[in-house]
């Protein structure tokens, strides 16, 4: 690499080294290597662009291709002016690549390219279709952030789409009977981004024309059909609502959905179900929801093909109503437990990162969990059912159930669920009762994870369950006497005794802190009745045990130990209040 730079300094033509320079810059092991790579890139690429004036456009093309594949943001500022000069090169191949290079720059650093937007818009009107297509590609990315400025593009887009659909492009762009499908799809995608309100009306006619043309075609046409539907769905809702009513296949794009979903081609089935997910539920009219469609959806659920099954499950979630909620939620729960745990999937990512890694995309398991919780809250048939579902999830749920999940459930119980089947006044009390039963069942020990992963970490406690159980007891433990349904009524002293037992049995500091806060809350509610002496002695004992045991190794658990001591001290203060 250093020899290359030397050669360049001496004025030799070392253009061939550009690729190697790039590679070194990106994957160099040491800092020295990376610096050499970057320097070489800078030198070589600059020279490459000065070759614009040379008639052999191939060199320019190579330089631009390197730029397109680059991911080095610092080199961009010096390159932008060169690339813009290339935009007006005589050879269309160069113009095309200049546009793609600009698109690449845009994704890396938006502000650098933005001032030159007008020049790129001019490229839209380029007589060469491939250059226009590349400009469209640029806008497809840019429009997501800058929809406002792009509104002026709409008439141009409409014209382009009209031209393509009418077949005005050269014969070479015909693909299996379909005129330039990729250009059509790009136009549609940009329109979808731009068309959120008033402009939709202007764009609808041309979109419908594209739809009509596509309905007559074959393989490639299906892609365009899918895109048309997606675009229409992102337009103003009134448009799709008006269209869905008509039974005429030419007018109603939604009638293609049954065609997709019932076909024997598995790809089309997948896309059919995808489309169903995207259509606004208000637009589900009898005009196109045929018997066959329903059958196809049911079939998809049972399909052995994992991808189709996942889509169908998503669709079901949107179809939730009071009647079918229980079935659907059962399916969702089943799918949830089938889904592989994220930690095992990513292998080397490291278990130390799994706890609080801020991920931009929720994993599938988290998504399903969110859906289950949401569905259960909105459509559950009864409180007992809801609580048994929650307990099941908390105990068996695995690492996806975090403390945040528990907090979500807690806020539901506190503020009341939206489902009509629930009596929200009963819900918290039942929760407390269930918690008591659960604790008795578990013999007060929450450290056993005999349900899942007996091989790995058998002594790890399940914090989410503990969190939930002790929170409900703390908040609502005193209200349980209000419901005299069960044979075994739990009154406050029984609850306190249970809590004390838990304290004795579980030595893990996190669980102990939960128990202690529950105890404190209940004792405040129990005032002015005094706390039984037995319980206070237990707490004092635990407190002393903590101070006399050897300091634990990690700093984190030291903090929780101090936390436990703090809570124990608070409880003892309250207990003393009652006595005095």
């Amino acid at each position: 690499m250093l020899r290359l730079i030397y050669g360049e300094m001496m004025g030799q033509d070392v253009q061939f080294g550009a690729i190697y320079a790039l590679k070194l810059a990106q994957s160099g092991q040491t800092v020295a290597e990376k610096r050499a790579g970057y320097l070489a890139c800078y030198l070589l690429l600059q020279e490459g662009n000065e070759l614009n004036i040379i008639s052999n456009y191939h060199h320019v093309v190579v330089a631009l291709v390197t730029l397109c594949n680059m991911t080095l943001p610092d080199v961009i500022p010096s390159m932008v002016s060169h690339v813009l000069a290339a935009l007006s090169h005589t050879h269309e191949s160069v113009r095309k690549r200049a546009l793609v290079a600009l698109k690449n720059f845009y994704t890396l650093d938006t502000d650098l390219v933005f001032p030159y937007l007008d020049r790129i818009k001019d490229s839209l009107y380029d007589p060469e279709p491939s250059v226009m297509s590349a400009a469209l590609g640029f806008f497809a990315i840019a429009v997501k952030d800058h929809a406002g400025e792009m509104k002026e593009l709409v008439p141009a887009l409409i014209r382009i789409l009209q031209q393509v659909v009418d077949g005005k492009l050269p014969k070479g762009y015909l693909y299996h009977g379909m005129a330039a499908p990729w250009i059509q799809i790009r136009c549609l995608m940009i329109m979808a981004q731009l068309g959120h309100d008033d402009l939709s009306a202007a764009m609808t006619p041309v979109v419908l024309r594209a739809f009509q043309k596509a309905s007559q075609g074959v393989d490639a046409a299906f892609g365009v059909l899918f895109e048309v539907l997606r675009t229409l769905n992102s337009f103003h809702p009134s448009i799709i609502l008006e269209l869905c009513q008509s039974k005429d296949a030419a007018r109603n794009p939604l009638l293609t959905i049954p065609r997709f979903a019932t076909s024997t081609n598995p790809n089309l089935k997948y896309l059919g179900i995808s489309m169903l997910c995207q259509v606004n539920p208000d637009a589900w009219s009898d005009a196109w929801w045929t018997e066959d469609l329903l059958k196809a959806v049911v079939e998809a659920l049972e399909s052995r093909d994992a991808a189709i099954q996942k889509r169908a499950l998503d669709l079901l979630y949107r179809m939730l109503t009071m009647e079918n909620a229980q079935n659907i939620i059962e399916r969702l729960v089943f799918a949830y437990f089938q889904e592989q745990d994220d930690v095992q999937g990513s292998g080397g990512v490291g278990s130390q990162q799994q706890q609080q890694m801020p991920s931009s995309f929720p994993s599938r398991k988290e998504k399903i969990l969110g859906q289950i919780l949401d569905a259960a809250e909105r459509f559950g048939p009864s409180e007992e059912w809801y609580l048994s579902l929650i307990f099941d999830l908390l105990v068996r749920g695995g690492s996806t159930i975090t403390l945040q999940t528990t907090e979500k459930i807690m806020s539901v119980i506190e503020q009341g669920a939206r489902s009509l089947g629930y009596d929200n006044s009963r819900l918290p009390i039942l929760a407390a009762q269930q918690s008591m039963k659960f604790l008795v069942q578990q013999d007060f020990s929450l450290s056993s994870t005999s349900h899942n992963h007996p091989m790995t970490s058998p002594r790890q406690p399940a914090p989410a369950v503990a969190y939930f159980v002790f929170w409900t007891l703390g908040e609502y433990g005193d209200k349980m006497t209000a419901i005299a349904e069960e044979n075994d009524e739990y009154d406050l002293s029984a609850v306190l005794e249970v809590l004390a037992r838990c304290l004795l049995v579980n030595q893990d500091p996190l669980i102990q802190s939960f128990v202690l806060s529950a105890l404190t809350k209940l004792s405040i509610k129990a005032l002015p009745n005094p706390i039984p002496v037995s319980i206070t002695t237990v707490v004092r004992q635990q407190c002393q045990n903590r101070t006399t045991t050897a300091p634990p190794a990690a700093a984190a658990s030291l903090l929780t130990v101090i936390d436990v001591q703090q809570r124990a001290a608070e409880f003892l203060m309250v207990a003393d209040l009652a006595i005095s």
Partner: protein, 162 residues
Amino acid sequence: MINFIIIFNRQGKIRLTRWYQYMTDKQKASLSQDVVTQILARKRGMCNILELEGRRETRGKAIYKRYASLFFCFGIDWNDNELSGLEVLHKYVECLDQYFGNVCELDIIYNYSAAYQVMDEMLLGGHAQETNKKVVVKHCKGFDKLEESDSIVHNLRASNIA
């Protein structure tokens, strides 16, 4: 956009890869292994679309198609049109076919640089930039001629100096 391209055969041996997004070598290796095993496990009647959702860093779909003994797999973004991706895949294979004249796996093994060349002509930065088969093949063959003439001139110069 297309995030990666992997071409592999039925035994799982990878013949060609192309990445349009920055990833460390370790991530690339694990992702390609993941995708290859998942695709090889699929049966005939299943659809050509795979959802890659297990990883936290990236979310996308993998579309694939089998041509004779090779699997061509494109990794695309979640919201992309899958069918258009499949068509681009097919177009790429058609271009390869026209360039090599009845392409087979051996052509790709021995002339992988030419396969990359065709790929770069067609796809750039993760998007299809030229879908006209004739233009793509014409450019590639033009490049070949240029290289040949360059190397002839270079050899002449070298022999003259010597």
